[in-house]
Symmetry: C2
Subunit: 92 residues, 2 copies
């Protein structure tokens, strides 16, 4: 997917941003404890395992940041946006 395609799709996943010339998709979620952030990370991880499309997940006290990209193409695929939407749905 090129930059223009990514720039169009990003509007469909509120709260997510494009990184590194549209090769990655990131969103940070905030929480009121470490354990709440960890529980969210695990939910994201379990969805990504069942979809076989894994993000990088960073969490600590009160936050969880999720980054999607497609290793095989070293950039973004439509799948990444689908996963981003599914992750967002976890908190809506």
């Amino acid at each position: 997917m090129n930059h223009d395609e990514a720039a169009t799709l990003i509007n469909q996943v509120e709260g997510w941003e494009l990184l590194e010339s549209s090769t990655k998709l990131r969103r940070t979620f905030t929480f009121k404890s470490f354990i709440a952030a960890q529980a969210f990370a695990v939910k994201v991880g379990n969805i990504s395992e069942s979809e076989d499309h894994h993000p990088d997940i960073t969490y600590g006290w009160g936050f969880c940041t999720v980054i999607f990209y497609t290793h095989k193409i070293n950039g973004l695929h439509e799948n990444d946006f689908i996963m981003a939407a599914k992750v967002s749905d976890l908190i809506s």
Copy 2:
């Protein structure tokens, strides 16, 4: 803790490295799946919750990186090295 003290203690936690002028402590662990990395992250998180000293944890397919530092002093405390040793013990 100043740089010299940190540089001495780092020798006691094999596999960990000092970051950003000795203000953080990092180690990356490798795994053979996403779920194994996530399971390790949760073990680290649960220990850190019980000790009330929380790292930043990043994981994805096959890896888990743990970073300890003490927010209150924006640097390293002996506690960070104790936690690093406990985390390392999880895999030994």
